[in-house]
Symmetry: C2
Subunit: 126 residues, 2 copies
């Protein structure tokens, strides 16, 4: 089995290239995707490819900031740039099956928020 970090790197490169065949090759048939912020879930490789193709149209691009892999787990941090030029970090946790296919994806998209005043004296801004 390829290292988990290599598999997740291939996943993000395939997504950014819109190479949906290569993308699908990385998925287990019974892959489950979850977005805990919206409580959305997609089951199955076919549905998950469709979710990506149809759910996220437009000229977005992504850049991998960090991938960490260990055994059958990995985590990624990407910067996602929308067609309008706005960017957002995306954090994703992956589980792999024995043969190296991605079987579970949990996806987080944090938004900016106001610094709470109670800790403002303890930090600098950048």
């Amino acid at each position: 089995m390829r290292a988990a970090a290599e598999i997740v790197k291939a996943y993000w490169y395939a997504a950014d290239d819109r190479d949906w065949n290569a993308f699908a090759e990385l998925l287990a048939d019974d892959v489950v995707y979850e977005g805990p912020q919206t409580r959305e879930r997609v089951r199955g490789a076919g549905n998950y490819v469709r979710f990506n193709v149809e759910g996220f149209p437009g000229d977005w691009h992504l850049r991998v900031v960090r991938i960490v892999g260990e055994d059958r787990h990995a985590a990624s941090w990407i910067d996602f740039t929308n067609a309008d030029g706005t960017t957002q970090p995306g954090l994703c946790f992956f589980e792999l099956k024995d043969e190296g296919k991605i079987v579970r994806i949990t996806d987080f998209w944090p938004d900016p928020y106001e610094l709470p005043t109670k800790r403002a004296h303890l930090v600098e801004r950048y």
Copy 2:
């Protein structure tokens, strides 16, 4: 050097126990913490312990969901429960120095948001 995942596990256990001496032992003197959502930064182990002690009072608790470590990098996913019982996921990326001290922490706190209608037909809810 201990495995990166073990060091990050000790970090979260020390935080949850409010064992700030054990917590400080895991940090490099020149540790840098960043929260990209607020663009807040804390430099130095002393300042960073103070940030945790004074910036987050109250009876919160956390549970480790997943830690992935590889070489001198790690990522963690925790569930953070506030004193009022509300919970929020926290995602964190870590870098370690050669001797295993944590030198860089990047911290994300995603909030719930409404499912965009354009992809509602592509998912189930949970």
